[in-house]
Amino acid sequence: MNHDSYPDAYIREILDSCRVIAMVGASANTVRPSYFVLKYMLEKGYRVIPVNPGQAGKDILGQRVYASLSDIPEPIDMVDIFRASEAADGIVDEALALEPRPKVIWMQLSVRNDEAAAKAEAAGLKVVMNRCPKIEYGRLSGEIAWAGVNRRTVSSKRPVLSGGGFQRLGLGKGRTSN
């Protein structure tokens, strides 16, 4: 995968197929970017499990926080890394040791570690780096257009309302977010 520019279909497939996200570096501070993403992805119908040793045993947005990936008692589809780029290597090792293995390693905006990515890809995982799942979801569903953001795509198809609401758009394509 060319990690400088991802095809929309690649990102869409990941957001479409993953249901359970472990968010490493999730913050309980309500104005931190990680809290925003956690809240947004929960609203979009994903199960998001915060990982943060400092908050282990507490809840963030009603979700139990775990100290490490290996403590999570259920299978996860995607690991979202909200940590410094150097930390990604160890997190990928932990993720690869999980049984069953997650399908996707996602590194947040400004997080990029090409060695960790290569390792995960060699093990058959998909990798996204230096991107935010909230922004990508917002872009592909069309919601982010309300903020004047250039989605770099055009379409003559009607956006898909999601969740029975009127200010929430979904990914369409078979996605069952609620």
């Binding site: 004047g148 250039n150 055009v154 009127f166 758009l169």
Partner: protein
């Protein structure tokens, strides 16, 4: 069409930002003429106010019709995001309000719309923001004007009124070395003729009133974020890099990635200064943009024909149009605006101030008014109107001396435009 195919300029002019309406399927962009939007529930409202969810709250901060204009202009300029506001001047105010603190300085090229010179010299002084002037035709004058307090550089790509084409890349390098963003007012060129981000600009502003809307029916402005500037480095832009008190300590520059500047302009500048665009105007501007390239091609072709006619007219002392081979700015026009030099240029009438006044009084097809970028041909004598409040020296350095006439060539038949000028000059 696959999602990753990059659409061309004409396709983006028509489609960017505008999908069929999600609830009704309406294909043209609906005019969401409403002040406010109901929340789905209390949580949803809290998420919207906390900037945690995307959505609409109140039209002063955002509106789906205005959003189509925003995304469309962002796409045409190649920026990451945009913000539509009430006017070109509001765009400039909000950009500077986001960048500057009291006591800060910015550098601006003197070859600017007269209203911008006023705004910078007088209105901005009340905010304790200080403009240092440089010569847009001399890159080294920008270098010399840089001080430790400099926070931004502002130029017009094609300057009003003289049609001067500015060396954007040269000035962008000065901005780079000074560690400040380059703001380019791209009003006269429009993104069809010039794309400042490709030459090193960080922020583009527009008076959408002009060529974007193109029909002389709506005042509006747009701010486009190039997504290129690192606001977090060195803490020189605290609006973006410091915790924001009115959002519970959120750091906007860290939360909104490469479109943080556009978001800051919206959630602070527009929210607090209040210069919102009406959805109806946004609709007219969006509709205008659909034909931008067609209009600009005709504007430019007509302008060349009119400039050539004037060049050989016995009552005309000089013509300043970068689209004419031999013009002082022709080489820069070929580099930055290869599709054409735009529709706005100046010429000098023999007989000075009085002759200038006569020409604008005698026209029959041209409209004598203070605007540019209309389908109609427009004419003005800047010294007696738009630039009247400037000193003689400022007038001359802004390209608005006593004999100067500014025209904005419309998209009528060029023979009719030329005939009207011919008869107006004959009686001058």
């Amino acid at each position: 069409m696959s999602e990753d195919h990059v659409p061309g300029f004409n396709t983006l002019s028509i489609h960017a930002g505008a999908q069929p309406d999600p609830t009704t399927g309406a294909r043209a962009t609906p005019i969401y003429q409403t002040t406010s939007f109901v929340f789905e529930d209390v949580d949803h409202a809290a998420s919207l106010f906390g900037l945690q969810a995307f959505g609409n709250i109140y039209t002063r901060i955002g509106n789906p019709t205005c959003a189509v204009l925003e995304e469309r202009v962002a796409a045409l300029e190649g920026g990451t995001a945009a913000l539509a506001v009430a006017s070109g001047h509001a765009a400039q105010l909000i950009v500077m309000h986001t960048l500057l603190q009291p006591g800060d300085e910015f550098i601006a090229g003197t070859q600017l719309y007269g209203g911008s010179i006023n705004q910078f010299n007088h209105a901005f002084k009340k905010f304790d923001w200080h403009v240092a002037w440089a010569d847009s035709t001399d890159v080294s004058s920008f270098e010399k004007a840089v001080t430790p307090k400099t926070k931004a550089i502002f130029i017009e790509s094609v300057a009003n009124p003289g049609g001067v084409v500015v060396d954007i890349e040269g000035i962008a390098q000065v901005a780079r070395r000074a560690g400040v963003p380059l703001i380019v007012d791209n009003t006269l060129a429009s993104p069809y003729l010039c794309r400042p981000f490709e030459h090193g600009a960080d922020i583009v502003v527009h008076s959408a009133t002009k060529f974007l809307g193109g029909h002389g029916n709506s005042i509006g402005g747009v701010i486009v974020d190039g997504g290129t500037f690192n606001w977090m480095r060195e803490g020189r832009y605290p609006t973006l890099s410091e915790p924001c008190e009115s959002y519970q300590g959120m750091v906007l520059g860290e939360t909104f990635g490469n479109f943080a500047f556009a978001i800051a302009c919206r959630v602070l500048g527009l929210r607090d200064l209040g210069a919102a665009l009406s959805p109806f105007n946004a609709f007219l501007l969006v509709t205008g943009i659909e034909t931008l390239s067609l209009r600009m091609d005709r504007h430019c072709a007509n302008a060349v024909a009119v400039a050539e006619f004037l060049s050989s007219h016995p009552k005309v002392a000089w013509v300043s149009y970068s689209g004419l081979p031999g013009d002082r700015y022709h080489a820069l026009q070929q580099k930055y605006c290869p599709k054409g030099g735009g529709a706005v240029f100046t010429f000098g009438v023999k007989g000075g101030y009085d002759a200038g006044v006569k020409v604008v009084s005698n026209v029959q097809l041209f409209s004598h008014l203070a605007n540019i970028g209309d389908t109609r041909s427009l004419i003005i004598h800047p010294a007696s109107t738009t630039h009247r409040q400037l000193s003689d020296q400022q007038k001359t350095s802004a390209g608005a001396g006593p004999d100067v006439i500014r025209v904005s060539i419309g998209i009528e038949d060029k023979e009719d435009i030329i005939a009207d000028l011919d008869q107006a000059l004959a009686s001058a």
